[in-house]
């Protein structure tokens, strides 16, 4: 009853094609944005912001990148971690070489490097399909990881092999480096992620997004509609890698403050893939849901033993959360292969007809 679209008739195609056609959805989003931009910085603790919200946003962005490739373009990828690394290292190099350049601009530019690398490793997709394509991304993952270690130039030859984030300013405030406060970093990330999500939503709804879905569903028929498989597949890799690259740079510059090769290893590739699977492939809201789920679950589990005064190691809880995540993945695949996002949508459908059990 609350969630009815009764009376909301669309009188133009543009209204029908809007991102959120239902008024309740628009209000909901507005509410979320208000909470995120205003309420949280004012009321939430630093811990919540640094350990939950910031990672959540960074992974959501990476999940969007991977989802574009896996969920919308249908190309399997196990190289997400490495692409994030490319973005992070490029950002580091560019800002080391041009310290006076605005860090946001550097961020914007670093994505192009990971996009370029993404295109190179995406080239085989023109001849190779499905599971075989996964090997390309695995090759990318391990080869790039090796590059991150071997190419000293990337981390300015420092002994530890790790990169330390230098301080950068915006409007007189430190936004990266040791003096940047969690709230500042959070607001920067939030803005960037919001803008990039909007852009992704627009592209996915339009001609280019449609062409990706066509290639995913039936590439032969897509070719017949005039889609050039070359252009379409490579643009998916490019766009997806751009997002992953920016996410990687955000991860290092605005969250961790430093990075080593391990930050971009294959386990991270898997982590983000789990987020996409659980959240729902082919759904933008799913990326956020999946990221929240996979990131927040271990945090909650780690907090339980102290709360109940049980003496269990943190490592143990991590294993438990592995098990739970695995079980949930299998559960979702059996019950709802399209993940949390579809469950949410079905839930909304049910809300629309509530208290009636069926939809007309």
């Amino acid at each position: 009853m609350l969630y009815r679209e009764a009376g909301q008739f669309k009188t133009s195609y543009s209204a029908d094609q809007a991102l959120l056609p239902i008024a309740q959805d628009r209000i909901g989003l507005l509410f979320i944005l208000v909470v995120a931009f205003i309420a949280l910085p004012m009321f939430a603790s630093d811990f919540f912001i640094s350990s939950i919200m910031i990672p959540f946003l960074v992974f959501s962005l990476a999940a969007i990148g991977l989802n574009i490739l896996m969920g919308y373009a249908g190309q399997l990828s196990l190289g997400t971690g490495a692409f994030m690394g490319v973005g992070a290292y490029s950002c580091y190099k560019i800002t080391s070489l041009f310290p006076d350049l605005n860090i946001l601009l550097v961020l914007f530019l670093s994505g192009f490097f990971s996009a370029g690398i993404g295109v190179v490793f995406g080239l085989p997709s023109l001849r190779i399909k499905g599971l075989y394509l996964a090997i390309t991304t695995l090759a990318a993952q391990f080869f790039l990881e090796w590059c991150f270690i071997r190419i000293g130039w990337l981390y300015n030859y420092n002994d530890s092999g790790a990169i330390e984030v230098p301080q950068r300013m915006l409007f007189g405030l430190a936004i990266t480096g040791p003096h940047a406060t969690p709230v500042t970093r959070y607001l920067v990330i939030l803005t960037i992620v919001s803008v990039m999500t909007l852009i992704a939503a627009n592209v996915l709804r339009g001609r280019i997004g449609r062409s990706w879905m066509m290639i995913r569903d039936m590439d032969i028929a897509a070719e017949l509609m005039g889609i050039r498989p070359l252009f379409s597949k490579l643009s998916a890799f490019a766009f997806s890698s751009y997002y992953c690259g920016v996410a990687g740079a955000l991860m290092v510059f605005f969250w961790l403050g430093s990075a080593e090769v391990e930050s971009f290893d294959i386990n991270h590739s898997f982590l983000i893939m789990f987020m996409v699977i659980i959240g729902g492939m082919g759904s933008l809201t799913g990326c956020f849901m999946g990221a929240a789920f996979i990131w927040v679950l271990p945090v909650i589990l780690r907090a339980i033993p102290p709360a109940f005064e049980l003496n269990i190691l943190a490592a143990t809880m991590e294993h438990v959360s592995s098990i739970i995540t695995g079980v949930l993945i299998i559960f979702f695949l059996i019950v709802e292969p399209h993940g949390l996002a579809r469950l949410w949508r079905v839930g909304k459908e049910k809300l629309r007809t509530w208290p009636f059990p069926y939809a007309t």
């Binding site: 085989p124 090997i135 090796w146 592995s322 098990i323 993945i329 299998i330």
Partner: protein, 322 residues
């Protein structure tokens, strides 16, 4: 011009010169590659079994290897005699196979293969977490001697040098070849083998001719579990049993690409190519790149191979009918 020919020399000539300079080293490297190739092949064999019989790519194969080895070693640590521990572990793998079939596979009959793949990914997480929870995360040593496998080594003097052969490696090679031969025969000659191939082709069609999917899958996962156990024993005998093995199992994907996803002999051939190729590349070309190239050589090799032959070495050309 000079640096160009120097570069050419570096890449294409000096490695071969080095090879001929120390032929005993070359033999050693080839042998080491052969052995790790056999082990990769064993992992790949587990994949092939399941894929051949159900068109499911069992992402959890690697963790099953670790899991099987851990069960065996832990049972022994609890005081169970080696041979009994072996039999019990086989039993555990059987129970595991049955539970997977019942709880996971049965619910996903007829789904798209990507969904099944992701289910095995979920399975990997479960087994990894459970394994670490129950057995602990530290590396353990394999009970090689207790199982009756010799841990000594023999030397062979050749080319003015020595090549050292670990007995365990020889044992691994022999066992692997026997297993491959047995499985190849099983698939092509027996009734169950035929049924397995039918299931791989089309779940619904196989069901409609009365093949019991559940039985077949349980059998196949059990067989794969046995292969995992053997692999775990062999790997563990060379380097301790730890969860790092799971990542090495990813290399089996490269093996599968070279050898084909459904070919039992192909797993061996692919495994050997990857194993020997990798070692040769690391020893003779590795220094040029600063070392550590073993981490990615297998994948890049498979990738290059795929570009020329997208269906793999033994795979069938997939003709799409429209």
């Amino acid at each position: 011009m000079e640096s160009f020919s120097a570069a050419l020399d570096l890449f294409f000539l000096s490695p071969f010169r080095e090879m001929t300079a120390l032929p005993d080293l070359l033999l050693q490297v080839i042998w080491e590659g052969f052995v790790s190739g056999i082990l990769y092949a064993l992992i790949a064999l587990g994949f092939v079994l399941i894929y051949k019989a159900s068109a499911v790519f069992n992402f959890a194969q690697g963790i099953m290897v670790v899991f099987a080895a851990l069960v065996l070693v832990s049972l022994f640590d609890l005081g169970v005699p080696a041979w009994l521990a072996l039999i019990l572990t086989i039993g555990v793998m059987g129970i595991l196979a049955l539970s997977i079939e019942r709880l996971v596979l049965r619910k996903l009959v007829n789904q798209h293969e990507a969904i099944l793949l992701m289910a095995t990914i979920g399975l990997t997480l479960v087994l990894k977490g459970a394994g670490q929870l129950v057995f602990g995360g530290e590396p353990k040593s394999m009970i090689t001697e207790e199982l009756g496998l010799s841990t000594g080594s023999s030397d062979w003097e050749v080319f003015d040098g020595i090549v050292i052969f670990q007995h365990i490696d020889i044992a691994a090679a022999v066992i692997a070849i026997i297993m491959v031969a047995a499985l190849a025969l099983f698939f092509s000659r027996t009734r169950i083998g035929r049924a397995l191939r039918a299931v791989a082709d089309d779940h619904q069609a196989a069901l409609s001719v009365g093949i019991s999917l559940n039985q077949i899958w349980a059998i196949v996962w059990f067989a794969s579990g046995i292969v995992a156990l053997v692999t775990g024993i062999m790997w563990g005998a060379r380097s301790d049993v730890s969860f790092a093995l799971e990542i090495i199992a990813l290399k089996a994907l490269a093996v599968l690409i070279l050898g084909g996803f459904t070919s039992v002999p192909g797993a061996i051939v692919g495994g050997l190519i990857v194993g020997i190729g990798e070692k040769l590349f690391e020893v003779y070309w590795g220094p040029i790149f600063g070392g550590g190239v073993e981490a990615w050589f297998a994948y890049v090799l498979a990738l290059i191979f795929l570009l020329f032959r997208p269906q793999g070495m033994f795979g069938e050309r997939h003709i799409e009918r429209i």
